[in-house]
């Protein structure tokens, strides 16, 4: 079974946010609007987060594209009272939207704050609504439950089905999340971390490779290549 992981090269990333947009179109995350977004209510499974370090004149601006870390030891899964959030056999942390009770224990337990809550019934303008992804696996989530990045799990399912339909063996390269596919600078890599020949496994071993809050022991499967 592959251990899906992602590597993001911060030297290549131009903070264009194409990944954020691709993610929204692929996964049908609702539009919060400017007022709600200013209040911290935007739902962006893949957010590009600006971070200003230091003070004038020694200022450094960084941009961190931040999907779900897909931890091997996820603190969110530990605390869910109803097993609505779980790690599947592919090592991907998912949410059962039909089971979640909306207690938001997982959202406060995630040290990366990658989990989002549906404060209202999801909304789109008519133009955007016409372009919703018709895939039932990413049907809009109702109000009152939690959602987050799934590494585009629906794409994995489709890729496996396509391989089966074509009568061939499914390969790790058949599957890629929308943010990786769309990245304009080709800063994102995706694949099987357990396959030592895969590019993502090799990059994850690079001396430049770091993980966020590594010291917490959550074992994220998203790696960043530091700016050189």
């Amino acid at each position: 079974m592959p251990r899906w992981g992602m590597v993001i090269d911060l030297d290549k990333c131009s903070a264009c946010q194409a990944c954020t947009v691709a993610c929204r179109m692929e996964n049908n995350t609702p539009v919060a609007g400017p007022a709600q977004a200013a209040q911290g209510r935007a739902i962006l499974w893949n957010e590009v987060i600006p971070s200003v370090e230091g003070e004038y004149p020694n200022v450094k601006m960084r941009f961190i594209p931040r999907p779900c870390m897909q931890c091997d030891d996820p603190p969110c899964v530990k605390v869910c009272p109803v097993q609505a959030t779980y790690k599947n056999e592919d090592g991907i942390v998912l949410i059962d939207y039909d089971r979640c009770i909306g207690c938001r224990f997982c959202t406060v337990a995630c040290p990366y704050t990658v989990r989002y809550f549906n404060w209202f019934e999801p909304q789109w303008s008519p133009e955007l609504r016409a372009h919703l992804n018709p895939d039932p696996e990413v049907a809009p989530r109702p109000k009152g439950i939690v959602e987050k990045c799934t590494f585009c799990i629906q794409r994995l399912h489709k890729a496996k089905q396509a391989a089966q339909d074509a009568g061939r063996v499914f390969q790790a390269s058949d599957y890629v999340p929308a943010c990786v596919e769309t990245c304009t600078e080709r800063a994102r890599y995706f694949g099987d971390l357990d396959d030592p020949t895969s590019l993502v496994a090799q990059l994850a071993k690079s001396p430049r490779a770091v993980r966020l809050l590594e010291e917490l022991g959550t074992q994220p499967k998203v790696f960043y290549l530091r700016e050189g």
């Binding site: 709600q36 209040q39 911290g40 209510r41 987060i49 600006p50 971070s51 961190i64 603190p75 530990k78 605390v79 869910c80 009272p81 109803v82 097993q83 609505a84 089971r99 979640c100 009770i101 909306g102 207690c103 938001r104 224990f105 959202t107 406060v108 337990a109 040290p111 990366y112 704050t113 989002y116 809550f117 549906n118 404060w119 209202f120 019934e121 109000k143 009152g144 439950i145 939690v146 966020l212 809050l213 917490l216």
Partner: protein, 447 residues
């Protein structure tokens, strides 16, 4: 009561609020009812529109509903402490106030549990907790422990009521039909034989001992809801005992408030007097000292070590945007109790009432300062979270407090305020419930 000439002074005191209700009381009930209605309306809107009508956001996912949850479960400690601990230690002066205290436990737990339901995004899926509940989640520890605590404290509240129910059944012959039916059913055919009393006392003693660890467990698992996450300043081993101390502290304060108001409205001056105010006042002062100790230990350790993530939160509390609330809390929980309660003249109904109002507000702030600041500054803090409670949250909070008072007052319009048989036992054995100022403040052999 011309048809009941045999009533003792105690019985007259206890029966009269059940028999007569003044206009003023109805007006208080109506005012409380209006506030409850306001809260219920706000909740209906929240249910229709979603939790977006609150001030919650990312990363401040929990707000004053969770604050209220911790606060209400905290004050529920009052009943157990006063009743069970004082019973086990055979403190005789507890007898006239045990029921006043125990009723707080039952209703505060109801209100605490209600806060979790109010906070849930999908309360319609509540049964999922029963069907899919997993014990690896601290949330389930809370559901289980609070459920067990609620059932056992209601049972513990009921047991000493049995002889009182029988007495109301036998002596209040002119009672309305529903009351007669209620008292007869709840009296369980009590006849007051020596054997019945022996069994009852034994069961009460067992329940008192069962309740003490249960209560400790409840306040600990409430703290673990926070302590088991990795959030800075939540992930701390001090939380369990810190929450227990805070629970007893705020519980005694709320007990003082209810006790003093009821004493006045129900005319209980002959049964609740100096002794109760003096001893409980000392207990409140001692809990203030414990609370100061824990608060110092928590903040000094964090501040001195100054690990970046935790310091971020602590600096916001001590020096930053939360500092007015923090130092206000210190004044309310530490300065006010010490300024008044160290003096014997301060441990009076008026003095303890002032301190208790101060402590109840201070402890609510303490709960707020536990829940919110850590969430505004998570470990991966690219931005500082903001939280501004909305009118919806205020209405639901006010409504919840009003509901607690409403249920509590209604309860004592149906059930006697004191365990008459217990108070008589004390009088019969030569003990005095009320002692004068001249007696030594702390007399060890009272039981």
């Amino acid at each position: 009561m011309s048809d009941q000439p045999e009533l003792s002074d105690l019985e007259r005191t206890v029966f009269s609020p059940l028999q007569k209700t003044s206009l003023g009381f109805w007006m208080v009930l109506a005012a409380l009812g209006a506030l409850v209605l306001w809260g219920a309306l706000a909740y209906a809107i929240q249910l229709r529109d979603g939790l977006g009508v609150t001030g919650l956001d990312r990363p401040v996912y929990w707000g004053i509903y969770l604050t209220n949850f911790v606060f209400f479960t905290g004050i529920s400690m009052a009943g157990t402490l006063i009743s069970a601990i004082l019973r086990v230690t055979q403190a005789g002066w507890r007898r006239s106030i045990t029921r006043i205290a125990e009723a707080i436990t039952a209703f505060a737990l109801m209100l605490g549990a209600l806060q979790i339901l109010i906070d849930m995004g999908r309360v319609d899926r509540l049964l999922n907790v029963l069907v899919f509940g997993r014990f690896q989640s601290p949330m389930l520890w809370d559901f289980t422990c609070i459920g067990a605590y609620f059932l056992s404290s209601v049972f513990y509240l009921y047991l000493p009521l049995i002889p009182d129910m029988a007495r109301l059944r036998d002596k209040w012959t002119g009672a309305p039909r529903w009351r007669r039916w209620l008292y007869r059913v709840l009296a369980l055919g009590w006849r007051g034989t020596a054997e019945q009393f022996r069994r009852l006392e034994k069961l009460i003693a067992i329940m008192a001992i069962v309740l003490i660890p249960t209560a400790a467990l409840v306040h600990t698992v409430v703290s673990w809801l926070f302590g088991m996450t990795l959030e800075p300043m939540w992930h701390s081993t001090i939380f369990g005992p810190y929450f227990i101390v805070g629970a007893i502290f705020s519980g005694i304060a709320l007990l003082f408030i209810f006790m003093t108001l009821l004493r006045r409205a129900w005319h209980l001056e002959n049964y609740i007097g100096d002794k109760q105010y003096n001893y409980l006042g000392l207990l409140l002062l001692a809990m203030s000292a414990f609370w100061i100790y824990f608060t110092l230990a928590e903040n000094l350790t964090t501040f001195y070590g100054a690990v970046a993530d935790e310091m971020n939160v602590d600096a916001a509390k001590l020096l930053g945007s939360f500092s007015p609330l923090f130092w206000g809390m210190i004044v309310l929980n530490a300065v006010v109790p010490f300024a008044i309660l160290v003096w014997r003249r301060g441990r009076t109904p008026l003095g303890t009432f002032v301190v208790s109002v101060s402590v109840v507000i201070g402890m609510w702030l303490e709960r707020f300062l536990i829940v919110i600041p850590s969430l505004t500054r998570p470990r991966l803090a690219f931005d500082v979270g903001i939280y501004q409670p909305t009118m919806t949250e205020v209405a639901i909070t006010v409504g919840s407090f009003a509901l607690l008072a409403l249920l509590y007052l209604a309860f004592f319009k149906i059930f006697p305020i004191m365990a008459m048989w217990e108070v008589e036992e004390a009088v019969g054995s030569g003990q005095r419930i009320v002692i004068s100022d001249r007696e030594p403040a702390l007399q060890p052999s009272v039981h």
